[in-house]
């Protein structure tokens, strides 16, 4: 009975948190001079109301989901990876360079190859802070953030230099972007007329694979034990240092894959920079953390979580077009949801305590009465 009750509450918490965040968001909408109900209707309609919207939502959710499941790995091993942005960029760069180097490979060869290179690029960029932490005890929070900056500089340097589209130089426009990547590296579309492509299926498979990794394999077992207790893991002969590096490398691999998919699933089929990392990633390297936390660091729960946050991005854009509400509102909403999830966990505990305490008191007075009566 108690079991069932706690199952239900664990379901209700995230939903309650979303509703609470939306309620606060409504006030913000009012303050911005928009009608909240119709605003939200616009948002949800745009994100989930029709096939085109669903396709756009799925597209937005791909990098969020991949980064998110990567975060599940590293956070479960108790390593904090804030380097999703840089790992996405590096994965994208490795994949782009590979595609430009082998333009004549056919699609069956080239697509897997570039995705693999994306995975590798991200993994290396994750393994570096992993090794720094394992061997020199450098905080991974700092090193991953710094490597984000380094990755962006490398991207800008390459896209303005060797990787730049020769046409940009001829025309003298010098937009820092690559040439149109070989068509054989394009990610195939899933449905005629919709933009959603193979990347979505890959992301879903990755989420499932990470779930298998964490709960069904010896490696995942090691990572989780290191995450829960370094002392006990070490005592049991589990290589703690290697596990830390592995966790960050795998986490980076997922982000790198996300970066590669962004490039080869983009409409322009080029890698472009506006000088910042968010210009390329859409902040998925950070928002993926939110997705994973919202999903309770569970890879499969990350799927609906990423769709929700992806949908909010799509909806916010629609709202901006319809009502001139700054799409930064969605960032505020993201933050509110996280705050509410975290605090609702707190309330749940309080509630439980209160519940049993009240029972005790009732029992108390009953017993007292009996005592007085006798």
């Amino acid at each position: 009975m108690q079991e069932v009750k706690s199952k239900v509450t664990s379901w209700l918490i995230p939903i309650g948190a979303v509703i609470a965040a939306l309620a606060l968001g409504a006030i913000m909408l009012l303050a911005l001079g928009a009608e909240p109900l119709s605003g939200y209707a616009t948002m949800f309609g745009a994100a989930f109301g029709n096939l085109k919207g669903l396709s756009a939502t799925a597209m937005k959710s791909i990098p969020l989901l991949l980064v998110g499941v990567g975060i599940c790995i590293s956070f479960r091993a108790n390593v904090i990876n804030i380097g999703g942005e840089g790992q996405m960029v590096m994965g994208a760069l490795w994949a782009t360079i590979t595609a430009l180097s082998f333009p004549h490979l056919d699609s069956l060869m080239l697509v897997p190859l570039v995705l693999l290179m994306g995975i590798l690029g991200g993994a290396v960029w994750g393994a570096i802070p992993g090794a720094l932490k394992a061997y020199f005890n450098v905080s991974e929070i700092l090193s991953t953030i710094m490597l984000n900056i380094v990755a962006v500089q490398i991207m800008n340097y390459l896209l303005r230099g060797v990787l730049i589209d020769p046409g940009e130089i001829e025309r003298g426009t010098r937009i820092p972007q690559t040439a149109r990547l070989p068509e054989t590296s394009d990610l195939p579309l899933l449905f005629e007329g919709l933009r959603v492509h193979l990347g979505f299926v890959i992301a879903l498979l990755a989420a499932f694979a990470v779930w298998v990794l964490l709960w069904r394999t010896a490696l995942g077992f090691k990572l989780r034990s290191v995450g829960l207790s370094r002392e006990a893991a070490r005592y049991a002969g589990i290589p703690v240092k290697r596990s830390i590096i592995t966790a960050l490398a795998l986490s980076g691999a997922m982000a790198g894959l996300a970066g590669a998919i962004l490039v080869f699933g983009s409409e322009s089929h080029r890698m472009v920079t506006d000088g910042s990392s968010t210009g390329f990633t859409g902040s998925a390297g950070f928002n993926g953390i939110v997705v994973a936390l919202f999903a309770g660091l569970h890879p499969l729960w990350s799927i609906p979580s990423s769709l929700l946050f992806g949908g909010m991005l799509v909806g916010a854009n629609a709202l901006q077009r319809a009502a001139q509400v700054p799409s930064a509102l969605v960032i505020a909403l993201n933050g509110l949801i996280v705050v509410f999830v975290v605090s609702s966990e707190f309330f749940r505990r309080k509630l439980q305590q209160h519940h049993s305490a009240r029972q005790a008191i009732e029992e108390d007075s009953r017993l007292t009465e009996e005592n007085v009566g006798s």
Binding site: A218, Y235, Q353
Partner: protein, 511 residues
């Protein structure tokens, strides 16, 4: 204790259920002023749960608590402290990175809130420690303290909050006999000052020595109440376990084989700097149990940690079955065939958030029997293995998926032993193997250690309990200030001689 006034504390009809178990089933308990009331019961009988309820850590499903005849609500430890209840937990609740004074001040409001005046706190600690003969250094960091000292800090913490009711959940489990004697003097003094205590211990002689009244729990129910002058150890054991218990295992004739564990010139640093283990030499043969006796804090823990690779030795070498172990590499020790039951079972021995199954395969999840070449775990095999271990060692749990932190203290210890012994080790280091387990389980653990000896394991048993050492060992090595004062054959050992060596008064050169 004659009943003078209303009891200071009454717990009435307390029931508490957890998924799969009724931890407390309609329990009523009273406590009078100045009384020491002991709770006795098997591992998992529900003692700690009842005490957690009294301390406001858990809420009963039904039942209530009265103090001085009035119902009280204890919804949190803060409420309990307000009502003058203090608790010494089965597992330490101190923050290792803070000093003693800081730990005591933690959660207290000083007069100059929010500033705390650590000087005053330290001063008061000094006073209390003199009054109750509890020696502690207020400025030492908790992580530097030996378990005995930590225990004293816990007690000072409760005294500092002026607790008139003290819950003592296995306070002696981690202490040496002389430390226990000192502590009992303190407790008696506290009782004479009108403080009341609920005392939990698995050591029957302690219960007989200290209590005014004894209540026995079994499977969450009260099964008996008695007074120390009306009972004895055998009868108490019978009441607890429901059968006769035999403490010394029958040991078969085993001729020790070749040297399995060879320690030479080992120096290991202590937590507070300096060498905790000094120039130690010890050989243990296959089929032999060497007991390491000594007052805790004389380098036993550091020795075990240096052997197992958890602590980096400063010099010296350790060989298992002829392989020289890499220093500071637990993995190489494990590979060479070492099993280790650590002293710090909650920190090193088990992962609280892992379930029972996961903790049982912590060592050998990578073995081919549990892991396919693809890296996928074989859950059917694992389940079978774990069910067997849980049965064999009588780990009391609703199922294998229960988080380990929800087990009772003694059952966690049984779980660790089950795992360590399941891998057919060549060398076994068992630090305080029966700490916190009930007498029935202790009997079984002793039997298993004797079985390991028959199987040919080279075993080192570290224990502060001389009876345990005497019951198990073939040879006894006495440690004092990081050195081995002497090694004696069990059959020629006298307690006096061992006692003198433990005190550092006498040294045997023959060894």
């Amino acid at each position: 204790m004659e009943q003078k006034t209303a009891p200071v504390l009454e717990m009435r009809n307390i029931t508490k259920r957890f998924p799969g178990v009724i931890a407390n089933d309609n329990i009523s308990l009273t406590l009078h002023r100045g009384e020491v009331h002991s709770l006795l019961g098997e591992n998992g009988a529900g003692k700690s749960t009842l005490m957690n309820i009294l301390y406001g850590l858990q809420q009963p499903d039904s039942g209530g608590i009265w103090m001085h005849g009035k119902p009280v609500r204890l919804q949190s430890p803060a409420d309990a402290i307000k009502h003058g209840i203090g608790m010494i937990h089965q597992h330490f609740m101190l923050v290792p990175s803070l000093t003693v004074a800081e730990n005591v001040a933690l959660g207290l409001r000083s007069k100059r809130h929010p500033l705390t005046n650590l000087k005053t706190v330290a001063h008061r600690i000094q006073e209390l420690s003199e009054k109750y003969r509890l020696q502690v250094d207020p400025n030492a960091y908790v992580w530097q303290l030996a378990v005995g000292e930590r225990q004293r800090v816990e007690i000072i913490k409760a005294l500092y909050r002026d607790a008139s009711i003290l819950i003592l959940d296995e306070p002696t489990a981690v202490l040496t006999p002389p430390e226990v004697d000192d502590l009992f003097v303190t407790f008696q003094q506290m009782a004479a000052n009108g403080r009341s205590m609920i005392f939990i211990s698995h050591k029957l002689h302690e219960v007989l020595q200290l209590s005014d009244r004894i209540t026995v729990l079994r499977h969450g129910r009260i099964t008996g109440e008695t007074f120390p002058q009306e009972t004895d150890r055998r009868q108490l054991a019978q009441m607890m376990v429901g059968r006769e218990v035999q403490m010394a295992p029958n040991k078969s004739e085993v001729r020790p084989g070749s040297v399995m564990l060879d320690i030479e010139g080992l120096f290991a640093p202590g937590d507070r700097g300096g060498d905790a283990v000094r120039n130690l030499r010890l050989q243990v043969k296959s089929g032999e149990i060497v007991g390491i006796a000594g007052v805790s804090g004389n380098g036993q823990r550091e020795l075990a940690e240096a052997i197992s690779g958890l602590r980096k030795p400063r010099a010296g070498k350790v060989q298992i079955n002829g392989t020289v172990l890499r220093t500071s590499c637990p993995k190489s020790a494990r590979k060479a065939g070492l099993a280790y039951v650590p002293e710090e079972r909650m920190r090193d021995g088990a992962i609280g958030d892992f379930n029972i199954k996961e903790n049982l395969i912590l060592l050998d999840h990578g073995d081919t029997k549990f892991c396919r070449p693809s890296g996928m775990l074989r859950f059917a095999k694992i389940k079978e293995h774990c069910n067997r271990l849980v049965d064999e060692f009588n780990v009391k749990t609703p199922d294998l998926e229960t988080p380990t932190k929800h087990l009772s203290g003694g059952n966690i210890q049984k779980l660790i032993l089950a795992r360590e012994l399941s891998g057919n080790p060549k060398v076994l280091i068992a630090a305080q193997p029966t700490r916190g387990v009930d007498i029935g389980a202790a009997e079984y653990i002793h039997k298993r250690l004797a079985d390991e000896r028959t199987r040919g394991t080279a075993t080192v048993v570290i224990s502060e309990d001389l009876d345990e050492i005497m019951a198990l060992s073939d040879r006894i090595a006495v440690m004092y200030e990081g050195e081995i004062m002497g090694i004696v054959e069990r059959d020629n050992a006298s307690r006096e001689e061992i006692g003198l060596m433990m005190a550092g008064v006498q040294r045997l050169n023959a060894a």
